[in-house]
Symmetry: C2
Subunit: 438 residues, 2 copies
């Protein structure tokens, strides 16, 4: 056997993912040496509090509060602190000192990705981030490498496990959002402050990362249209089921062709959408994630697996560490990302999809014609319409319409919905949901 080099690995952060990464680096040192041709030596773990309790028992002498000192002289720096600072500064310092960086920090990449990749390019180092989207599911590498010779047309994915868990239970049990959220918090599927998940912010960060990579462009987080699932109720899920759909929080990244005066653009958006029960994404249950990719030559592909979890995410981190180690051994500069342009990100009004509109209307003759007419005026054509009738306690009859539209432009649809809302025959616009995955 040849004389193997030793590579110095610095770990920043020892939370649920970091502590598993440390454990695996120690326990699998021999295997990792076989895989890479290098001894990966865990030089230390930088944390805020050396004595804080950890998920995994780790040698106390590895811990330090001096992150900057730990980075100096390291070949590979694994950043798992999360948040913007000091993670950003430490990553930039690590790159400038010649280290390759592996990170799972989606918030940082979605906001400061361009800066970090620029510095990496300048110094010939690599930044890997498989763990930043969909935990252990290999999706970054397939987009970056496997599909690099293809042209990605569309991605839609379930990239947030917490919201999928909540929507899945609401779908299975007919339960209310609040009840399921409380239970999810109790079981550890949702955090005490669930805002980032249920408002779609976490999914929006991942959508920005996926779109930037797939379309070779910089997508600022602010350009991602984001709606969460707090407005989804049992009634909407029941309506969806009746029409053959399930509601999923989807991150969608899509190329929009040039149209009239409008240039080619991309759309990056997160919202609860209707997905056909026949679609592979419909059978993604619990906290799992799945990303559906449509590429021009490859056709549709799907990547499925656990969307969270310390040890699952650690698998993705270790995959990136092995690649970085192999690169060190092979020599040569880091193979960076494709050059990124600045494609325009279209406003939500420009997308085209199908919609399901639920209305409460007066129970009068001719209501159907009036509603269909108001939609048609705005260029929205009706594909299906279903009317149900119920009676109030006071005996007044109340009619509900569930309307499925043909494909329409979002701007036309929302204008038409505004007209419906203002109309005398419509008592209330109950919900408007988009259909994805056609």
């Amino acid at each position: 056997m040849i004389d193997h080099r030793t590579l110095r690995v610095a770990l920043l952060g020892a939370g649920s993912v970091g502590s598993q990464v440390a454990r695996l680096l120690i326990e699998r040192a021999d295997e990792l040496e076989e895989r890479t041709g290098a001894r990966l030596e865990l030089a230390g773990i930088a944390v805020r509090d050396v004595d804080a309790p950890r998920d995994v028992a780790l040698p106390r002498e590895l811990f330090t509060t001096e992150a900057h000192e730990l980075i100096v002289g390291s070949d590979i720096v694994i950043e798992l602190m999360g948040g913007i600072e000091p993670a950003r500064t430490l990553i930039l310092d690590a790159l400038r000192s010649g280290a390759d960086v592996v990170t799972g920090n989606k918030a940082l990449l979605a906001t400061h990705g361009a800066e970090i990749f620029d510095v990496a390019d300048q110094v010939g180092a690599s930044v890997s981030y498989e763990a930043a989207v969909a935990a252990a599911i290999p999706i970054i590498r397939p987009l970056k490498d496997s599909l690099a010779g293809d042209r990605v047309d569309r991605i839609f994915g379930i990239v947030n496990g917490t919201t999928n868990y909540i929507l899945d239970r609401m779908d299975k049990e007919g339960a209310a959002f609040d009840a399921v959220l409380t239970d999810a918090q109790r079981l550890g599927y949702a955090e005490a402050d669930p805002t980032a998940d249920v408002e779609g912010h976490d999914a929006a960060q991942k959508a920005a990362i996926l779109a930037s990579l797939a379309f070779h462009t910089n997508v600022p987080l602010e350009a991602v249209h984001c709606e969460g699932i707090t407005g989804v109720d049992a009634d909407m899920i029941e309506n969806a089921r009746g029409a053959g759909f399930v509601i999923k929080l989807l991150a969608t990244c899509e190329r929009l062709p040039a149209e009239g005066d409008e240039p080619e653009a991309i759309s990056v958006r997160v919202y609860p959408a209707l997905v056909s029960r026949e679609h592979p994404l419909a059978s993604v249950h619990g906290g799992n994630n799945a990303v559906y990719v449509e590429a021009e030559a490859a056709g549709p592909l799907m990547f499925y697996g656990a969307g969270a979890g310390g040890v699952q995410t650690a698998s993705a981190i270790l995959g990136d560490v092995v690649s970085a180690a192999r690169r060190h051994i092979a020599g040569g500069v880091g193979v960076g990302e494709s050059a990124r342009g600045d494609q325009p990100v279209a406003p939500i009004g420009r997308i085209t999809t199908r919609y399901q509109i639920t209305l409460e209307v007066t129970d009068e003759h001719g209501v159907l014609q009036t509603v269909a007419g108001l939609l048609a005026e705005g260029g929205v054509s009706v594909a299906t319409i279903e009317q149900t009738l119920s009676h109030d306690a006071d005996g007044a009859s109340r009619a509900r319409l569930v309307i499925g539209t043909h494909r329409a432009r979002e701007q036309a649809l929302s204008d038409a919905v505004a007209r419906l809302d203002a109309s005398d025959v419509v008592e209330r616009v109950v919900s408007v949901l988009r259909v994805e995955g056609d």
Copy 2:
């Protein structure tokens, strides 16, 4: 823009995949240059007959019959001729002349992979073969890189589109194997000589490649246990459905732990197996492929997409070409495969799984006890048993038993089935099917 290098690309073969690769290399030259930082110049296409009809119109001056001459001076050689020779010699020559090789040749890799990877290692070149398994679905790269820091425990996949198409139609239509095969041939889903597909040989080659990669070992093709689908009839599919299963041709690669005197080993096998209708693999329809991977840290992952097709497979080839080009630009030697050991491949008798046994038995009192007793004697315990009764034209009553077993070792099971076959109460062993995916 920096001054880009030009890389010389040689293409060997212009069949359904090769002609699409040539088209995309020409049509997307600008995009590929952006992705790689190199101008990829298609230097020529080596074919047997320059004037043969092609799927795609390509410049005639690119074609040559002199493959050896074309290789000389090329930076990247794409081999899509198929078969063992002259593909093997040309690939070895290309590597020795310093070129990186991209191939989709599963037959060659399953039989001469070790030789080819050795030569690549010696000269510091790379061999990529994403297209060899499951067409456009990224599965080679995830196993080679993304899961390189993890430990793969098991893979089971639908890796042959033709047999999945046939079994899926038999399942949906209750049709007979021969009828569906004839139709599949008419529609182009099966070849005129369907042997390689329906006998499982194609899937066995892919299983050998997947197992070699996942377990970092050399798996000779002869060590792969292989059964095809020609014995699957409508009755078996109906029985499977009754018990909540669907029949799929699965390629399974699995670690077997050490047991008594037996060392740790791997099992690599292809056969039609029962898969729960709840399992994600059950909803892989038509000619699609899907590979399910269970890794220790990552947990279960699934990769899904088109399993065949010229342009789909071309996507995988181009992904490998882009990676090879980036490597040329970055410098450094090829990052090879992990070093491969020689883990023992266990005989089929050593695997442990659940079984479904269908018997025709005499319609006598005590038959159930006798059958269960014969199974229990061999250490096979019965989980479910279902008896149906039918009457022959001559009035004789005929009983059929469908038995679901608990997990049992294959050797014990086959010994027990032999005892059943010899028993007076059993008129005929109708079928024995393995259950996978638990």
